[in-house]
Symmetry: C2
Subunit: 176 residues, 2 copies
């Protein structure tokens, strides 16, 4: 799929997925897109666990409130951040890094004909992120930050309406 | 350009740009890619100022240490975050939002045959971000977070080497 088409078609899909497979090679292609995202100092602070095991998927669905997308997804990509500031580094870019990786993966999901949604806030309550981390043997010094349910959408994904260019961007001065 | 090609070709380009134009329509297409990125609660907390004015460009180059890319760029896209948590919102996703928008723009830059680099840390020292904000009349409640110099690269951009999939991603368990 052409880049700009993928950017226009990417949508936050929260509805059920069809009972159709998502192949291992396609999942690897999606995660590879995440790996190729930029990171501050090229420190590559983001790592990934792809859940395909049905029991683990059901446990993550349960922990996150059994939303339709997570409950019916054929795979769940878990995005993990290393929050530590590297030696000799002035700044930590962990959040920026995993966000760029997540956006790359959402575009890859779209280009391959699947759908997903960036789930983040639901992990910040009641230590859900920590519980998912322990379920997947994520080292305690790392943080689970996002999950992406992936599957073939049963309904047409629709991108949320966005404000226009004129309302959010200007040349040579804010609001100019 | 095909999405996966754009993801593979995107590079952090810090070398000089050629004295070749970057059109207003192309800059709008790049910023539109940023606008279409997802944001928490669809709150669209990211806004943009595109600097094409040569005097303003020179001032931003001066403020950020006169790196070759910023000094020779035909345009500089300034990425601005609203750090306020919206009413009725439990969380603030400003960093995630601008990072996803920035990644979309870097891919668009690549697809259009230009190059850029995500400049962030250089703005966090000596209130450089604040100085750029005041230069561009950015409201004081908002934060300048990133600048992207944009131009036709004089040298071939090369993506930094990344660890392999096997070193950063696993199925059904961390390090499995």
């Amino acid at each position: 799929m052409e880049l700009f088409e993928a950017i226009h078609c990417r949508a936050s899909y929260r509805k059920p997925f069809r009972d159709a497979p998502v192949g291992k090679e396609q999942l690897e292609q999606i995660v590879e897109a995440g790996i190729l995202a930029p990171s501050g100092y090229n420190d590559q602070t983001t790592s990934f666990v792809v859940i395909t095991d049905p029991t683990l998927r059901a446990e993550v669905a349960e922990l996150t409130g059994n939303g339709e997308a997570v409950r019916t997804a054929q795979a769940i990509i878990v995005v993990i951040m290393d929050p530590r500031t590297g030696e000799g580094r002035d700044f930590q870019f962990g959040v920026e890094n995993y966000a760029a990786a997540t956006e790359n993966m959402l575009l890859a999901v779209t280009a391959l004909g699947f759908a997903s949604v960036w789930i983040d806030g639901a992990l910040r309550r009641d230590d859900v992120a920590g519980k998912i981390g322990r379920l997947l043997s994520v080292p305690p010094e790392l943080e689970v930050r996002v999950i992406l349910p992936v599957g073939v959408p049963a309904e047409e994904p629709r991108q949320a309406a966005k404000k226009s260019l004129a309302e959010r961007a200007w040349f040579n001065g804010y609001g100019a």
